[in-house]
C-alpha cells in the first residue's frame, strides 16, 4: 500500500468527524474549514478532495449551511453543526476512544 492510499484509508472513517468536531466549536466558511483541516492533518495537496465529503454531510443533514455576504470577494458559505451532526459526533467520540486504545495496545503506541 502506498503512503497516499494508506493515509486515504485512515481518513475514510475519521475525516468527517474531524469536520463535525471543528464545527461544534464555531461556524466556519468552507475555505476556512477546509484550510484548517488540511493544516491540522497535513493534507495540503488535497484540499479539493474534502468538498465531496462536505456535500455528503450537507445532504445527510449532519451539517447545514447558509450564504453570507463578505466584505471582500464573493458571498461565503458558512457551515454549522446540526443537532443530528452533534449526536453522530458524540457517538463517534465514544467509539473512537475505545477503538484507539485497542489499536494503541496492539501497536505498542500507548503513551504510558
Amino acid at each position: 500500500m502506498s503512503e497516499e492510499s494508506s493515509t486515504t484509508a485512515l481518513l475514510r472513517g475519521t475525516l468527517e468527524y474531524c469536520v463535525l468536531a471543528l464545527l461544534a466549536g464555531q461556524e466556519m466558511y468552507s475555505t476556512e474549514l477546509v484550510r484548517r483541516i488540511s493544516d491540522e492533518l497535513q493534507l495540503t495537496a488535497s484540499e479539493g478532495a474534502m468538498y465531496p465529503l462536505l456535500s455528503r454531510l450537507r445532504k445527510s443533514g449532519r451539517i447545514a449551511s447558509d450564504w453570507r455576504e463578505s466584505a471582500s470577494g464573493p458571498p461565503r458559505r458558512y457551515y454549522r453543526l446540526t443537532p443530528e451532526g452533534e449526536l453522530a459526533l458524540n457517538e463517534f467520540r465514544a467509539r473512537w476512544s475505545a477503538f484507539r486504545s485497542g489499536v494503541d495496545r496492539i501497536l505498542g503506541t500507548e503513551c504510558a
Binding site: 475514510r12 475555505t31 479539493g48 478532495a49 465531496p52 465529503l53 470577494g73 464573493p74 461565503r76
Partner: protein, 148 residues
C-alpha cells in the same frame, strides 16, 4: 495578469470537469461550484494577487484525478452499503474461496516440490503433478467445508 490567473483557474476547473465525467451532471456542477467558491474566496483574501499565489491555491486543492476519486468514493459511500444485492455478496464470497483455495494449492505445490527435491535428488519433475493432484483433493474438501 488577472486574465492570466482567470484562465489558470478556468483550465483547472475544466480538468476537474473532465476527471469527473462519469458523475451525474448535478453532482459535478455542485463540485465545480464548491471548488470555484474556494478559489475565489482564497483569491479575495490575498492582499495583492500574483500568478504564483494563484498557482499555489490550485496546487493545494490538488490533482483533479484525486478529487475525482474522492467524489466517486463519496458517491459509493452514501447508499451502496445497505443496498448491496445478495448476489454481489455471494460473488465476493466465492471469490474469497477461490483465492484461499489458490493459496492452499500453491502452498501444497511448494511443499511437495521441497519434499520431492529432498527425496529424489536429481530426479525428474514427474512427482510434481502427483503432488498437485493430492493438494487439489484437499482444496476440494476445503471448498466443500466452506460452503457447508
Amino acid at each position: 495578469m488577472t486574465d492570466r490567473n482567470d484562465s489558470l483557474v478556468a483550465d483547472y476547473l475544466a480538468r476537474v470537469s473532465r476527471a469527473t465525467a462519469g458523475m451525474s451532471e448535478d453532482r459535478r456542477d455542485e463540485l465545480v461550484r464548491d471548488l470555484l467558491e474556494h478559489i475565489e474566496t482564497s483569491r479575495a483574501d490575498l492582499p495583492a494577487e500574483t500568478e504564483a499565489e494563484v498557482r499555489g491555491i490550485l496546487e493545494r486543492l490538488g490533482d483533479p484525478a484525486v478529487i475525482a476519486r474522492a467524489a466517486a468514493e463519496e458517491d459509493g459511500l452514501a447508499p451502496r452499503e445497505d443496498v448491496e444485492p445478495p448476489d454481489a455478496r455471494r460473488r465476493r464470497h466465492i471469490r474469497l474461496v477461490v483465492i484461499i483455495v489458490g493459496i492452499i494449492v500453491a502452498g501444497a505445490l511448494v511443499v511437495g516440490a521441497i519434499f520431492f527435491a529432498q527425496d529424489n535428488e536429481g530426479g525428474s519433475g514427474v512427482a510434481l503433478p502427483a503432488e498437485g493432484i493430492s493438494s487439489n483433493t484437499v482444496s476440494k474438501q476445503f471448498t466443500a467445508e466452506l460452503h457447508g
